[in-house]
């Protein structure tokens, strides 16, 4: 048995379709342009996302953003006009992804039709000159044309090819088999693209109708939170959010545990924390309890409650010169570092004085007199120190709302303690202020939890979409799509068999496929398993 090899040099092969050339051209042109547009839009989306990662973003870190704006007085107004402090909410960013979505839909819809027709049509007949295809070979055999064709059909069917039913050959007296496989590749491709649209829709609904809010809740059954707009400390709604979308619930923190790291380089930091949360989902409903932890949110009818932080609120009572209480109760101090050294202010609505200061959960005084905080673990509270600066004058509360975590001392004068600036108090101590300004008492310590409460509608749609996209992607990447033709005809030397393969997926070693097919046709063991 002799085998001859015939390979044409690399050249363009005319696509094989039952379409007129003109239609084909138009179709191809449309296809190409929309693909290219989609690609450019895709890369544009990547490019448009870059500034948001380099310039501080208002909704991510407002403090850093305002600091940056203060430091760059020339650039800041320009950046603001361009929306560079909120890149992902700007019209131009939206324009890119909306265009991309339209382009995607424009791309998918015609392809769905093409795919549907392709599914129902048969594998195309063999081109006239098989050996002109880039991957083709031929050999002669003593077997008859019918035997070769039957064998080819059996081999290809075994390899899960779809066979062309009618095998009318373009050549007289020749037996011809046309086969195609890998239809699911294009299906995977389409699924992927549709899934991308599903993800975009899910994401859009989530950010338009959802909200994200934060609130600090003090520990104790007398404190609590009910899900109303006014109760939030910060609230970031989507643009189509309506307050009526808040569902009813209230909660309070019954108990709170922190697991402190007591050795190693991170000693004094919190390893884990857990809240014993009690909540009600209807006004007269039962009170349920839940162990709220980081990575373990509570889901109340689609609204999720996350525990994202904690800290201390020293209980401070301020009395005026006549001994009347002007302010009392826990004041939330925010942690400054991982040892829970905390900063906070007390601004009584009436009265002359305001306080700002540091809270040391576990204070040690260095030999040079400098106080340092050792750990966030407060123990029994005996090492806790409250170091307060006292200010006299207008704290600005009358001029409208302001942050409860900072004090504007520009119109105030400081009341200094004898021998230093700050008044240091331990739990239970009271300090009497000079000039008959009253007194300050450090009564005790309450803990607080920072809760993030959010509603993200359609989040499961987005997740399902991504999973679907991944499945489609796997199909479109790893299902091999190809067409095979086998033609046998009588010649003087015996039956000449031509085998050709057209790779429709790219990245495959077609030569090995041809070799494997030839081996199978000749009844030899295949070297390369498919």
């Amino acid at each position: 048995m002799t085998v001859t090899e015939d390979r044409t040099p690399e050249r363009e092969v005319a696509p094989i379709r039952e379409l007129t050339p003109r239609e084909l051209l138009r179709w191809g042109w449309r296809q190409l342009t929309s693909m290219r547009t989609a690609l450019i839009l895709l890369l544009l989306l990547a490019l448009a996302a870059v500034p948001g990662s380099l310039i501080p973003q208002e909704n991510l870190d407002s403090v850093k953003t305002s600091n940056w704006q203060a430091a760059h007085t020339t650039l800041a107004p320009i950046y603001r006009k361009l929306g560079l402090f909120d890149v992902y909410g700007t019209p131009w960013f939206a324009a890119v992804y909306i265009l991309l979505m339209i382009s995607l839909i424009g791309c998918i819809v015609p392809r769905l039709g093409v795919y549907w027709r392709g599914l129902r049509s048969q594998p195309p007949a063999a081109p006239r000159n098989l050996l002109r295809l880039p991957e083709a070979t031929s050999y002669t055999t003593s077997a008859s044309v019918e035997e070769v064709s039957a064998r080819a059909r059996a081999v290809l069917r075994r390899k899960r090819y779809r066979l062309r039913r009618v095998s009318t050959s373009t050549l007289e007296g020749a037996g011809e088999v046309s086969a195609e496989r890998g239809y699911l590749r294009e299906a995977g491709n389409l699924v992927f693209h549709i899934a991308v649209i599903v993800v975009l829709v899910g994401f859009a609904v989530g950010s338009l109708f959802g909200y994200k809010g934060g609130v600090i809740v003090l520990q104790g059954d007398q404190y609590g939170f009910s899900n109303e707009l006014t109760q939030y400390d910060d609230f970031d709604p989507g643009s189509l959010f309506r307050p009526s979308m808040l569902n009813w619930f209230n909660l309070h923190i019954h108990d709170f545990h922190v697991d402190w790291i007591d050795s190693g380089p991170r000693q004094g930091m919190a390893r884990g924390f857990r809240s014993d949360l009690r909540y009600q989902t209807s006004p007269n409903g039962p009170t349920k309890s839940y162990d709220l932890e980081v990575n373990h949110p509570l889901d109340i009818g689609g609204t999720e409650v996350f525990l994202i932080g904690h800290g201390y609120a020293p209980e401070i009572t301020v009395r005026d010169g006549q001994g009347n209480i002007v302010s009392s109760g826990p004041a939330v101090f925010l942690p400054e570092d991982q040892s829970f050294l905390s900063f906070g202010v007390v601004k009584p609505p009436s009265g002359q004085i305001s306080l700002e200061g540091l809270f040391y959960p576990s204070e040690v005084t260095l030999p040079n007199g400098q106080p340092v905080n050792v750990t966030g673990d407060i123990g029994d509270g005996s090492d806790a120190v409250l170091s307060l600066q006292v200010w006299k004058g207008d704290n600005g509360l009358a001029n409208g709302p302001q942050s409860i975590y900072s004090l504007d001392t520009s119109k105030m004068t400081q009341v200094t303690a004898p021998g230093g600036k700050a008044f240091n108090l331990r739990k239970g101590q009271t300090v009497t202020l000079p000039d008959g300004l009253g007194s300050v008492t450090f009564d005790g310590i309450t803990r607080w939890n920072k809760l993030q409460i959010s509603q993200t509608p359609f989040k499961h749609v987005a997740l399902g979409g991504v999973v679907l996209a991944l499945l489609g992607l796997l199909g479109s990447l790893f299902i091999r799509s190809r067409r095979v033709w086998v033609r046998a005809r009588e010649t003087a030397e015996g039956t000449l068999v031509e085998v050709a393969v057209l790779d429709r997926s790219g990245g495959d070693e077609m030569a090995a496929v041809v070799a494997g097919l030839v081996a199978a046709l000749q009844g030899r063991p295949e070297e390369e398993p498919e």
Partner: protein
């Protein structure tokens, strides 16, 4: 063993791995220098096999032009022979050393994990350690299957350089994880991210080789002649990328958001790391898309792949120097209340 003992074992293993990688690199360089000025096995084999091809039942062109040390003996003077033997010897030695280094590397990663009592991916040092380890391990495993010997110097040099960066710049002592990082989604997220990073890096090396080889595709001598033909390189690069992309998709768009949702209450936060992971995803999506539909093969595809690798590694290391707000900056736990105002200087 105590935490401390495991930690120092890990550090010693890293040092050992570094030294052995360096020896492996030297060995590959000796191999390379022995090839300079010599027609390689590939070139010879083509000449030898060409006329005899008709006897084979399979077209000769179907055999991938791989380097075959066996054919070397048939040619040339004894000097050529000696150099060929030397090249082969040092090539094998280099691979063997790389295998040993990978073993040390694995010990280093594992003992780091034992020291910390968790998966060893809590900070940049550990991630770099694991990432380079995965690049090296994937290379060692695919060495025979994809015939990657031509890639040896590039991979070993890459791993060595990043290992040095890890030790010199990124090193941090063993620390327990902060609460938000303590989730099994972290394990899944980081394994997939590291695996995809390894694959994209190898793919990037293949693409870089493609661009180098493209400048002189007909080189018959030296190390470049051992690098496979352009179509083979292109295909290898594509396959590695096609392997990495679904894993990256899973890491960035599935396990990442699920974990983010659990830990921070929002599945997508436009955090700089997320943004850059997304950019990398888009670039590689563009790469695969361009290959599939626009017919971008070869040069354009290779350039796109290199852009992808650049965004990948910029995200991994570079972005940390531009942005401090990232929730992925492992130094500051995300759960410390974010809105704390600056403490007035007087109180400090």
């Amino acid at each position: 063993m105590s935490t401390h003992a495991w930690e120092s074992l890990s550090n010693q293993a890293v040092a050992a791995a570094g030294v052995i990688y360096f020896l492996a690199l030297l060995s590959h360089l000796v191999e390379w220098s022995a090839l300079i000025g010599r027609r390689t096995a590939v070139a010879e084999r083509k000449v030898l096999v060409g006329p005899a091809g008709a006897e084979s039942s399979v077209p000769s062109s179907t055999e991938a032009p791989v380097e075959s040390e066996g054919a070397v003996g048939t040619s040339g003077s004894s000097g050529e022979d000696e150099r060929a033997t030397r090249a082969e010897l040092f090539g094998r030695l280099g691979y063997l050393l790389t295998c040993i280094a990978v073993a040390c590397h694995v010990v280093a990663i594992a003992s780091r994990g034992f020291a910390a009592g968790r998966v060893p991916w809590g900070n940049m040092y550990e991630f770099t350690l694991a990432g380079t380890g995965i690049v090296a391990a994937v290379y060692v495993l695919l060495y025979r299957r994809l015939k990657l010997s031509w890639m040896a110097p590039a991979v070993v040099a890459f791993v060595l350089v990043f290992l040095m960066v890890a030790v010199l710049v990124l090193y941090t002592p063993v620390e327990p994880l902060t609460e938000a990082l303590n989730s099994y989604w972290l394990v899944i997220h980081v394994i997939s991210a590291a695996l995809a990073t390894g694959a994209f890096t190898l793919g990037g090396i293949a693409s870089a080789m493609y661009l180098l080889k493209r400048r002189r595709p007909d080189t018959q001598t030296g190390w470049m002649a051992r690098v496979p033909d352009l179509p083979v390189l292109d295909r290898v690069a594509y396959r590695i990328h096609a392997f990495g992309f679904p894993i990256w998709t899973f890491a960035v768009l599935i396990s990442g958001p699920i974990w983010a949702h659990q830990a921070w209450g929002s599945y997508w936060n436009w955090d700089p790391k997320e943004v850059w992971a997304f950019i990398t995803w888009v670039v590689y999506a563009g790469y695969l898309h361009a290959r599939a539909t626009a017919g971008w093969k070869g040069r354009n595809a290779a350039i796109l792949a290199l852009v992808g690798v650049a965004t990948l590694w910029f995200n991994f290391i570079g972005i940390n120097y531009f942005s401090t707000t990232s929730m992925h900056s492992y130094a500051a736990p995300a759960h410390v209340a974010a809105a704390a105002p600056a403490v007035p200087e007087a109180l400090r």
